[in-house]
Amino acid sequence: MTEQALPERSRGRRLWLRLAEVELRDFGVAVAFIALFLALTFASSHFLTTGNLSNLLDQWGPLGLLTIGETICILAGVFDLSVGAMVSVTGVTATKVALSTSPTVGLVAAVAAGLGLGIANGVAIHLTRINSFIGTLAMSIIYGGLAILITGGNIVTVDNLRFGYIGQDGAFGITYVGWFFLGFTVLAIVLIARTTFGRYVYAVGGNAEAARLSGIRVDVIRTSCFAISGLAAGLAGMLLASRTQSAQADIGTGYELTAISAAVVGGTSIFGGDGAVWRGFVGIMLLAIIGNGFNLLNINTTYQQIVQGGLIFIAVAADQLLRRRV
């Protein structure tokens, strides 16, 4: 994150300086990520090991899924504050349904529930025309209540080992959780970077009025983004429930803030229409290796919070600074 070190708002900037700025804006977070990655590689012999990296993907996979969904929402100019609550609902759905039917049905039900809740977010916001920030906040409170209703306030445990397979096993040295995260990321990158839908997401986020006058159905695009975010939350809920073979009503609490932070740290503009899915990936992985670094280097983890908070400030400030000049 070196953007903020860049020049003041002088008017007569030279071309090369402007080009450097564009590059830094585009790749500042990637440079920061690589620098930190290399630094940790040298500072700790445990960092660059298959075990450690695979473990990082596994630990941060559920949050990573949420970050990808959130990034897409922010690109479309909306926020989804309900992802944490959706993880809770889908997690407990997985366990409850698994207990009453079969493990597989439970797992699938979680994903379906996530998708449904996401669509509900989009439709509710479209119908009421309230601001997405407040709208999804309200929905998250509703979903939180729903999760408690489902569990009755208890931890729901599933003993059937088949239920834990997907959250605990793996293949080719990476857990299924990691694979889900990577796979979802790749699909989302293709969707946003290559398809007409992706184009419309950028257009809607960049200038909703121009998009509407270009014949794009703004509400449909945004509802789809909420649906994708819900799907990601469903996958995360399923994986978390499977990992511990249990779920309770607060498993997702607070996740939305980390997801939004990671999306923003990655360099996606909070004003919408500017950013990319890979940025969400880099953002969450940057948070992951910062935490990992603190552990490996035995630094008091309290500092980790301070660093993460600072990063968010830097990312948003850099975005606004650069934006003002366009």
């Binding site: 290559r194 398809t195 007409t196 839908f197 992706g198 184009r199 419309y200 950028y202 257009a203 960049g206 200038n207 009025e209 121009a210 998009a211 509407r212 006058l213 270009s214 014949g215 794009i216 159905r217 503009s269 229409g273 500017d274 366009v326």
Partner: protein
């Protein structure tokens, strides 16, 4: 030519030292010269009118006086001393207040709170309700407004809200109040009352700079009138020496016009687009017009006369309350840009930054946004086809960009506008509704756009052209309709239309 100097009886303040003098003021926006070398002097306790066509620079000059804009060149002299305002706050401190077109009050606050906002009587941070009320009553009595101190501003009519703004200015000891189109949002009745208020203000010692479109009001309220044209001051004269006709003539001038492409008369044919009795509450009243293939129909009228509202209601982005639209004689109901485009009707919106382009996205993506399906297969955008298509469009419309992958915001205004054309013409529609197609572009690009519009018409496209530049409408259109307050008030063929006639219709003065 300026008439004889003011005689003392009619303008008693002319000979006194001016309250405020503008000397050689210039202001550019990008490459556009909004105000050029303007000099005006405003007498104390008088009402000074500022008139001109759309874009003549009158609002800009008003904002410069009130510190909302800083001039690029020139001098402001207040009470004989040079002054420089960096913002409205500094101007206010010097006794100059601005009442802009948009009301700037705290809607939930009471009248009294708004009037004394920021200058509340207080002692060590505590408010003094009784003193507060006393000061308000004093101001209210002085102006005779009769406003209720405890009414919430949001519950008041616009005219009443303007009174609150005026009181607020007076509470700050304003000696000059700049009013930008204060009557634009008012009914006839309310306008008349406001005019009376302005007279009373002047009588009690406050000068007013009255910027307005409405010549009858200007003549009835002002002591002195300054006419502007193309950013320059044409003349300043006592209102008693002017008539509506003389003002219109001064606004139009006898200018050498830009060269326009030669007009070829469109082939006789049945209309492509017919609009009948289109209405929309408060903005459009019973508008009917038709458009043939190859024909350019210009819509003239003042800002706010319903031109933009007409095209928006036509393609259905704003809902019409009534009326019929026919394409090739068949009635259609358009419910937005998407459906209109399918019928071959496209609208180029007036504000390219807010409505036309996604500024942060690359030129390329903007060019294909309205026709993405053409370069995609099963939902995937083909980069190769898109590159080929956008390359062609950039060539055809002469869009000069460092790279088509650069954000469209990095292009010049003219090139942005050409990109907007390219975006909407990529599928060759049959009807083009162009709203202010040359706003904020330089002369070279303007010419290119004129030629483009003429060429499209020659190739058979039906074009509805809205422009605040009357010259442009006269230069390009085969037929000109004039709108005023949501209605079509006149229609002229290209031969009949003259600046004077069209302006007279737009301002609703008795035709010369």
């Amino acid at each position: 030519m300026p008439p004889a100097p003011a005689d003392l009886e009619e303008a008693p303040h002319e000979t006194a030292r001016p309250l405020l003098e503008l000397r050689g003021i210039s202001k550019n926006f990008g490459g556009v010269h909004a105000v050029v070398d303007a000099s005006v002097s405003i007498a104390p306790a008088a009402v000074h009118g500022l008139v001109g066509e759309n874009g003549a620079g009158k609002s800009t000059l008003g904002k410069i006086v009130a510190g909302a804009l800083e001039p690029d060149a020139g001098e402001i002299v207040l009470d004989g001393k040079p002054a420089r305002f960096h913002n409205p706050r500094e101007a206010l401190a010097a006794g100059i207040a601005l009442i802009a077109q948009e009301i700037a009050l705290v809607p939930k606050g009471t009248v009294e709170e708004n009037v004394l906002l920021g200058i509340e009587p207080q002692s060590s941070g505590l408010l003094h309700p009784r003193e507060h009320r006393r000061r308000f009553n004093e101001l209210n009595a002085r102006t005779g407004f009769g406003l209720s101190p405890t009414a919430r501003v949001e519950t008041l009519r616009v005219a009443e809200q303007q009174k609150v703004e005026i009181l607020r200015a007076i509470a700050r000891d304003a000696r000059l109040i700049v009013m930008d189109e204060p009557t634009a949002a008012l009914t006839r009745d309310e306008s008349e009352r406001l005019v009376a208020v302005i007279r009373r203000l002047a009588a009690s010692g406050t000068a007013v700079l009255f910027v307005s479109h409405y010549l009858d009001e200007v003549l009835s309220v002002c002591d002195t009138v300054t006419v502007m044209r193309n950013g320059r001051v044409v003349r300043t004269a006592p209102a008693s020496h002017e008539t509506q006709q003389s003002l219109v003539q001064a606004m139009v001038g006898r200018e050498v016009t830009l060269e326009y492409p030669e007009k070829t008369s469109p082939p006789e044919s049945a209309p492509v687009l017919e609009v009948e009795h289109l209405s929309r509450e408060g903005v459009l009243e019973d508008v009917s017009l038709s458009l043939r293939a190859g024909e350019i129909v210009g819509i003239a009228g003042l800002v706010g006369s319903g031109r933009t509202e007409l095209v928006r209601a036509l393609i259905g982005v704003d809902r019409a309350d009534g009326g019929e639209i026919r394409l090739d004689g068949k009635p259609v109901r358009l419910r937005g840009a998407r459906q209109a485009e399918r019928h071959g009707v496209v609208m180029l919106p007036e504000d390219r930054k807010r409505q036309g382009l996604v500024m942060s996205r690359p030129v390329r993506e903007n060019l294909t946004l309205a026709s993405l399906g053409d370069v995609s297969r099963s939902g995937f955008v083909s980069r190769r086809r898109e590159a080929a298509r956008t390359g062609e469009l950039a060539g055809e419309f002469d869009i000069r960009a460092r790279s088509l992958d650069a954000p469209v915001a990095t292009l010049s205004g003219g090139n942005q506008q050409k990109a907007l054309f390219a975006k909407w013409l990529a599928r060759t529609p049959r009807v083009l509704l162009a709203d202010e197609p040359t706003r904020g572009v330089d002369v070279g690009a303007k010419r290119q756009i004129h030629e483009l519009i003429a060429r499209l018409a020659r190739e058979g496209m039906a074009v509805l052209l809205i422009s605040s530049e009357l010259e442009e409408v006269l230069g390009l259109a085969h037929r000109i309709v004039v709108m005023r307050r949501g209605r079509i008030v006149a229609e002229y063929s290209s031969d009949e239309a003259t600046m004077d006639r069209v302006l007279a219709a737009a301002f609703a003065t008795e035709a010369a």
